[in-house]
Symmetry: C2
Subunit: 188 residues, 2 copies
């Protein structure tokens, strides 16, 4: 099942033959995590990039006063990692834990580079994925800069209606960078 899911995801950008897909698939490992389990912990090595097959994860940063800031809420068909840790080998600064039971297909940095070096189509795929990732992040920066909580909530709800139903209002508020009370007013 998870294999078909990854294949359909890749095919949105580039078509692989059965053989090419099986080759690419062999670089990934299937992983299962329980709700509340940590996939990445700040301070640890975080050498895997993960594709969500099932579930939701929360990627966050906790400052020295213990306050948590949510960077990403990732569900099926999203990719997540601690990008800095993954790409540089430095210890993770982010935490990633599971909001639901989660299944991933995960690839190490080394395997990703090997796969890209040996499969032209997969290098193209990852270049395009990062391009759309950049576009989404720029949108998020603009939404945060404009600092209009109402617009931010409306935009997020429209963009990810199915995600909204599966996570708590407290998490949504934290993701948007507003208080729980502000979000309640916006939800009325």
């Amino acid at each position: 099942m998870e294999t078909n899911f990854l294949r359909a995801h890749i095919h949105q950008i580039v078509c692989l033959t059965d053989e090419e897909f099986e080759y690419a698939r062999s670089f990934f490992t299937k992983r299962k995590y329980k709700k509340h389990q940590y996939i990445i912990q700040a301070g640890d090595v975080a050498s895997q990039e993960h594709f969500v097959v099932k579930g939701i994860v929360k990627s966050s940063y906790t400052d020295h006063e213990g306050k948590e800031y949510i960077l990403q809420l990732a569900m099926e068909e999203w990719w997540f990692s601690d990008p800095n840790a993954f790409n540089t080998g430095m210890p993770a600064t982010l935490n990633v834990d599971c909001i639901e039971d989660t299944e991933t297909l995960s690839i190490s940095f080394e395997n990703k580079e090997k796969l890209c070096a040996s499969s032209r189509k997969m290098e193209y795929f990852f270049r395009k994925k990062y391009t759309t990732g950049n576009m989404a992040l720029q949108k998020r920066v603009l939404a945060l800069l404009s600092n209009n909580a109402g617009e931010r909530y409306k935009q997020w709800r429209n963009q990810y209606p199915s995600l909204q139903k599966r996570i708590s209002k407290t998490l949504i508020a934290s993701y948007l960078g507003v208080t729980r009370e502000t979000l309640s007013r916006l939800s009325l």
Copy 2:
């Protein structure tokens, strides 16, 4: 001059032979802009991605009330575009204007795809560039979420000391999402 500059920039990621570089270079066009000139205007087509050879540009979004939000201040060796317009062909939503006289090497979407399809090394280069772009944007999202203007200013000053000397305090404040008064307090 600008050609050597681009070559040195590419060589930070991947080494090209003279021939390979000349081939890659042929996909770029050299452009010159005056201080205050617009390179991208909201509503227009923005089919070029630009590498800054000299100067500084400001990439910003203006909301329906006329308030401007700065997404990027890009100087030598940075890349800029309206990523959404560049990658989808939709009209630009951002404005990019010159803070100083600026020179760029610019590549169209079509040429970038042709170059990547015909040069393995350049596809690798652009994949890696987008990876580091993602890392920088995630840092910016976290800085905005944590909403600590002092930390944000300190981090930015440390990251780009030479940029700070070349642009006005008003622009820096806008980039950081704080008022000019707040920035003055932080600068003391």
